[in-house]
Amino acid sequence: MNSRQNIKPKPVLWLGLSAALAVSIFLVSNRNRETDSPAPVPVQAQAVQSTAGQALSAKTDHPESRKPAAIPPEEFIPVILKPADAEAETRGYEMPFAGTNKVSGKTTAAELHEKLTAAAMDGNIRDIAMFMNSGDPAGEIEAVRLLARIGGGEALAAALGKLLTVPADSPDYNKFINAFADCRSAAVAEWLTGFLGRTKTEDVRQRVIAILAALHGTEVVDCLAASLASPIDKMHAKDCAELLARASDPEQAAILRNLIETGKTTEIQTSAARGLAHVGSSAACTALLETASSTEDIAPVCRAALATVGSSYGQEVLIRAAVNPAVPSAVRIAAAEALANQPSQRTQTVLANLEQAAGDPVLQAAIHQTLQTIEQSGTPPQSRGTAGIAGINGELWF
């Protein structure tokens, strides 16, 4: 059970967030008219205390080399001590050794991370925010992530400002958004959901949709469902419904199931069912199986959603349902149809044998159709150039 608490910024910070974002969005709206250069990101000047910064710690020893808290620190005594490597750490049996970067000569990811970590330890939002315009995509993305971690109106406003101004055609666009995805702020979700209905600028609308679709946690589902219950206009309703149906975080399975059972409108229930299918985790599939097996009016919608599950995280749950005679036939058919979306020898073997085992002719026909779909749509595994590599000793050619 997820026990996160909703984190709402204090009103004064929230006003700051709104104001800073308003400036950001103004910049987005005017960007094309003025210049191609990146728009400045609004940053509040006031520093904040960061408990998160204190969390940043030294690198970790590989745990295999000692038991927890029982092994005292070791003295490192190399037989041949090389000064350049004197600071190297033990990382364990496998050797994820550090790179030396003696070839490239540019700032390494490690160095960049070190600088940002120092800024985060100080909790200085302005220092971190400066990295968002450093020109180094890795540093800019990391800065967004650190601001999302620090949280609060000022930090989140600065990060959101960056997300709303980074070019949408940038190859790193999604990385920026993913770095923000774990901010877990109900206030951000609420503001974005509301703003989605108010904005009249298509570019901004698409950006807001992209951010909302990436946000993790239950907060965004709550906000989307609330907006769907009383949308600003038809477009807002359509966007919220589609976003709900594009849920992907496994942590959202429980709340989506709850929406199926208690949603105020059929549209909310339907979107929630589609969202569960899109999440596709074992918990999500279990929830869909149970709601699809119920006698409620929404059951057919859930069965339809179940048939669209494409994630292999729900595969074993679907297989168990498909072969279980205690499960209603219509639900077994939906589960079997979903397995067609996950081609593998495993699913094909299961379905082929199930076709023989199923006593229900309707189920048999559905499975037969599913197997045909797999055979017709599935391209055989492609050889990816193993000819020279695997001939003698065959190490992995990934």
């Binding site: 059970m1 608490q5 408990t51 969390a55 710690s57 030294a58 970790t60 020893d61 295999e64 000692r66 927890p68 808290a69 092994i71 190399p78 090389k82 004197a86 190297a88 364990g92 049996y93 496998e94 050797m95 994820p96 970067n101 490239s104 540019k106 490690a110 992530r145 971690r149 949280g151 770095a179 995805a181 877990r184 993790h216 946690g217 975080d249 074992s282 292999s312 995280y313 595969q315 074993e316 349902a321 279980n324 005679p325 499960v327 996950q342 081609p343 495993r346 073997t349 044998n353 085992a357 595994p381 150039g385 020279g388 590599i389 695997a390 065959g394 190490e395 992995l396 050619w397 990934f398």
Partner: protein
């Protein structure tokens, strides 16, 4: 002069600090009118010593607080005037005409006994003149003009209606703000919650506050928290049974007025109470609709509290078609609430006799209160069905053999047999000790299973028959499949993590879902483990959830993407921590660490290609993390030292490889690797377009391997084994194919010619040219061949 001059329009004087703001001036003038009238009209009209004191010249007088009236002018001459009173006492002087302070003799207004300049007001009917070198205190509200002559100083404000304020003095200060007042919690308060917020009121004139907070009875620089305008401050989560001291310094342009030191004491931790089940067991009939479980709060109710609850399978199974519906959630208590809380578990009645079954309910992650005893409850579902029969079915494997062993020449086996039961066989399933998945046979009395997967070596195949009463029986056959010559090679060739779902910015104690997929040619088990510097780490087994075939294929063998999932309890330790992913063959205990290619995890990995990082936010209770007991208690979960050395992979740490290669010409490449064993190495040039191999170049060892500072330690003996660093050099002829091509490095145990070649890993940033996404992340480099 420091500050800003405001003017009505552009016709006024110019300068860097001159601003046009007619509206602001209008507001200021209105405020001055209000203040002037309030001072002038204040009643009762002074009499006696408060009317015309000193016959108009108050020089040499010592005046107590109060309202003084002058029916004509007032002056301070011949001697200084002293105003004696406390910091909150007020003096108001109503002067009908002029106020004149004697010039040239350092005449002064002296404040005594703690009197404050901010509490002294001079209402002047015409104009005020502060003579040369005089020292004045208080706010002058003049109808006409105010003149501060050469050398004069003033602590206060000079505000005039009609005329000008002419300043020729040497300096002036605004009066200090009053001390902050009315603290919350009250000074000396006890029994406060550990999340208490402090607040106070403006003592007069403060524009912002310096907040000091801590356990030091004399708050100093170390206790300084922030400067702020707000009238409240949240110190965060405090400790129980602790006294905290805080001070609010009032600030304005006149300076800082240090506040009083206030204190409060937090409540005793025990007063929060304990949370526990009311009983250790519950029994419920299988045909009951639900079971209500009670959690009590005893021995205290101070502060809000919450606790997580969750069910866990025992012999009873949660889920559709089984015994009960899994339940989990959070129970919350408000401050002072002692009532028990309940949650409901739905029971599922089936017509099958299964005997009594049990599952458990636990409460965890208590917040605001301690966990008591018991926190684990065993629920027994009492069977309501008649034990119609307890006869186990029979089952026999007939195809491919009725013997106990069989040798297969293919990696797919068709199985068949018979099963019987007095009330009928409901299902036959088969599983392979080498496989991660279970298969359901077609048919029951005469059952078959087509295409059952086998793997190189010994496969223990178990067939299980079930009847409607839940009775079961098994038959086994050991199948040897020796036809896969490359099995050991692919087993050693490593794996790659392809997808990771691992939340970030984690809250201590919460349970999150972690998902990952591993690309492998053989069925695998997988787990995560991680830790942080300072001695804590955890293990968690992944639960297999499904697989899909990948595009990768090795001599006809498709690689599969295996999906794993686990519910993971976030440790109560804050900070960044590392997470590794382990994989092992199904019947093995030899775990390897797969590569996590760039881009698979959204979070920046500064250095290491085999781990990811996450952050746990502050607020945990410091308890050690929860590990999966099945993993933690496993014996011999790691390989032998020799196996480790051989299979620990080789990592390239330095490289010199030119770019823009000329076709047909020889090119030499050097690279340095780290390994735990002596290795021989090769360089392979691949054709990206055709997926063929252009050439293989054997590498020669340059010099003698030297010892690295990296090591691992035998957990039993404590012996450290240091890695070696070896430099290799290889020369190859550049293929006649312009464009981007890929180079790949591999190595194997030089002491064992039968050992498998393994891909060498590329440490981060070793090669300056980024590799395009092609699936072989972290294992190759790219170069351009010129036309």
């Amino acid at each position: 002069m420091n500050g800003i001059i405001y003017k009505v329009d552009a016709s006024g004087s110019a300068g860097a600090n001159v601003i046009v703001n007619a509206g602001l001036l209008t507001t200021a003038k209105g405020d001055l009118t209000t203040a002037y009238n309030a001072a002038r009209d204040r009643v009762p009209v002074p009499t006696g010593p408060f009317l015309n004191p000193g016959a108009g010249n108050i020089g040499g007088l010592n005046l107590v607080p109060g309202l003084y009236k002058f029916t004509s002018g007032a002056s301070i001459a011949g001697s200084d005037v002293t105003l004696t009173g406390g910091p909150d006492d007020v003096w108001i002087f109503q002067i009908a005409t002029d106020l004149i302070v004697e010039a040239g003799v350092n005449r002064a207004v002296i404040l005594a006994g703690g009197a404050q300049a901010r509490n002294v007001f001079w209402q002047v009917g015409t104009s005020a003149t502060l003579g040369t070198y005089s020292s004045f205190k208080g706010t002058i509200l003049a109808d006409q003009s105010i003149t501060l002559d050469v050398g004069s100083t003033m602590e206060g404000r000079a505000l005039a209606f009609a005329g000008q304020v002419a300043f020729a003095g040497t300096g002036g200060n605004l009066p200090l703000a009053g001390k902050a007042i009315n603290p919350t919690p009250a000074n000396g308060a006890t029994g406060q919650v550990i999340t208490v917020n402090t607040s106070w009121q403006n003592g007069g004139g403060a524009t912002n506050y310096a907040v000091y907070f801590g356990t030091n009875p004399i708050p100093g620089l170390a206790e300084f928290k922030t400067n702020q305008t707000a009238l409240s401050f949240a110190p965060g989560t405090l400790s129980y049974s602790n006294t905290y001291y805080w001070r609010i310094d009032s600030r304005n342009a006149g300076g800082i007025n240090e506040g009083d030191v206030w204190s409060f004491t937090t409540a005793n931790e025990a007063s929060r109470g304990t949370l526990q089940f009311n009983t250790t067991t519950n029994s419920v009939l299988e045909n009951s609709a639900s079971l209500t479980v009670t959690v009590t709060r005893l021995s205290g109710s101070f502060g809000a509290a919450s606790v997580n609850y969750a069910t866990s399978n025992g012999t009873a199974t949660a889920g559709l078609g089984f015994d009960y519906t899994a339940a989990s959630g959070v129970l919350n208590w408000t401050n002072g609430e002692t009532a028990s809380k309940t949650f409901v578990i739905t029971l599922l009645d089936d017509p099958i006799y299964e005997g009594n079954e049990t599952f458990t309910v636990v409460i965890t992650n208590a917040s605001g209160a301690r966990l008591g005893i018991p926190v684990l409850k065993t629920v027994t579902i009492i069977e309501n069905d008649t034990p119609s029969e307890i006869v186990a079915p029979s089952i026999q494997i007939i195809v491919p053999t009725t013997n106990t062993t069989y040798t297969s020449l293919t990696n797919r086996l068709n199985l068949g047999g018979t099963a019987a039961d007095n009330i009928g066989v409901t299902q036959v399933t088969l599983r392979n000790s080498r496989d991660v998945a279970v298969y359901t046979a077609a048919g029951t009395i005469n059952w078959t299973l087509t295409g059952f997967p086998l793997f190189q070596g010994t496969n223990l195949v178990t067939a299980i028959a079930y009847d409607a009463s839940g009775n079961s029986a098994t038959d086994t056959v050991t199948v040897v499949y020796a036809g896969d010559a490359n099995y050991d090679d692919v087993l050693r060739s490593g794996n790659i993590v392809q997808e990771i779902v691992f939340p970030d910015n984690l809250t201590p104690g919460e349970t999150v879902t972690v998902q990952w997929k591993v690309l492998s040619y053989v069925p695998i088990q997988s787990r995560i483990y991680g830790g942080i510097a300072g001695g804590w780490f955890f293990y968690q087994n992944g639960v297999y959830q499904g697989m899909t075939v990948s595009a990768w294929n090795l001599n006809g063998r498709p690689a599969n993407l295996y999906a794993f999932e686990c519910a993971w309890v976030v440790p109560q330790k804050s900070g960044d921590f590392d997470i590794w992913f382990n994989v092992a063959q199904m019947d093995g205990d030899q775990f390897m660490i797969p590569v996590i290619p760039d881009g698979v995890d959204s979070r920046m990995d500064p250095t290491y290609p085999k781990l990811i990082q996450r952050t746990i936010l502050a607020g945990g209770n410091g308890a050690n993390p929860v590990s999966d007991p099945d993993t933690w208690d496993s014996a011999n979960i790691f390989e032998t030292i020799a196996q480790h050395k051989e299979r620990s992979a080789v990592t390239i740490i330095e490289m010199t490889m030119p770019d823009n290669l000329p076709q047909g010409s020889p090119v030499t490449c050097e690279w340095k690797v780290q390994s735990y064993i002596d290795v021989e190495a090769q360089l392979l040039v691949l054709n990206l377009a055709t997926s063929n191999l252009w050439t293989t170049a054997s590498a020669s060892l340059v010099g003698t391997p030297v010892q690295s500072t990296f090591y691992f330690k035998d957990r039993t003996t404590g012996v450290k084994y240091y890695a070696k660093e070896s430099t290799f050099r290889a020369t190859f002829i550049v293929p006649p194919q312009a464009g981007t091509q890929q180079l790949y490095f591999r190595s194997r145990d030089s002491a064992n010619p039968l050992s498998a070649w393994m891909a060498e890993n590329l440490a981060a940033d070793v090669d300056p040219r980024p590799v395009q996404e092609n699936g072989m992340y972290g294992r190759l480099i790219e170069r351009t061949i010129n036309p």
